[in-house]
Symmetry: C2
Subunit: 150 residues, 2 copies
DNA sequence: GTATTTTTGTTGCAAATACAACAAAAGTAA
DNA sequence: TTACTTTTGTTGTATTTGCAACAAAAATAC
């Protein structure tokens, strides 16, 4: 059994750790860059969807997003037709940080992919997307309280 | 720019979330399965090395391992020649849980790799190992307080 | 040898994380 | 319409996480 998931875990933790350290100087605390990027890329999303995009617990997302709002990186806007939801938008301050986050992420991407050919990168991306789609089904299933049988 | 790292982050969070939910019934709290697996596979390791294997902060590892010890899953043993280090070994209780963790991880692996051919799995594993080796250098660099320039 | 640096481990603290439980709006069924 | 279910959001609470700072042993430099 090839320990694919273990490699993925190591990579993800290492990267997240690096990003969190590097973004501290921009007053983004742990994890916040994840949410801010998604909100900048998908303005008008609701937090429930952002949590699904990132694969993080709803309540964790709620609190991170609340903090982003308190610190002026994003705003929550009421919806005309739906009183329940709050749409999320980056503020000017948020938009200004966005390219800094992108730059860091791009750099980490480049470091991670060092020594891989263009073709290998394509293949890796394709395979990872397929893995992600496979696993997100189970994630949603288990998160909803269902039990996997194996 | 292919968002490789984003896919990896999503997969890792989803998998970790699933595992944490599934291991609760065995009295393993969040993250503990990671440490227990490594200690079972590398008996006699010290916690500093376990942290490096997992790519997690030293102090986080210290506390998780302390808890594993308190709950009787592992023991810390003094070294003959080195008074500073404490070698880690699974107890009978720890050894008993190990195959349960492996079974879950193998199942998640299988779910994740559904639809991929044997050859694709080989390729993915190879590429991920290369990515991991690339990124762990930066992780260690940044963790030691150094600043990446980009 | 002594002095300095690195390794390994710990604890204090602040913050993030996530489960449980709740509430209210929206959607669906009857 | 009313009843039930799902969606979306919040808060209470317990736990994990990780940075800072410290201590002591070991390794290295001199």
């Amino acid at each position: 059994m090839k320990e694919i998931l273990r490699e993925i875990g190591m990579i993800a933790r290492a990267l997240d750790s690096i990003s969190n350290i590097e973004f501290k100087e921009y007053d983004l605390t742990r994890g916040q860059y994840l949410y801010l990027v998604r909100i900048c890329e998908n303005p008008g999303s609701i937090q429930e969807k952002v949590a699904e995009l990132i694969k993080v617990d709803r309540t964790t997302a709620a609190r991170s997003i609340k903090k982003l709002e308190m610190n002026g990186f994003i705003v929550k806007k009421e919806d005309e037709h739906n009183k329940k939801i709050k749409k999320l938008y980056p503020t000017e301050k948020g938009k200004k940080i966005f390219p800094i986050i992108k730059r860091e992420n791009d750099y980490s991407n480049a470091v991670a992919l060092d020594g891989l050919s263009e073709e290998e990168i394509e293949i890796l991306f394709d395979l990872l997307q397929r893995v992600r789609r496979n696993i997100e089904k189970d994630w949603e299933f288990v998160k909803k309280g269902n039990k996997r049988s194996y």
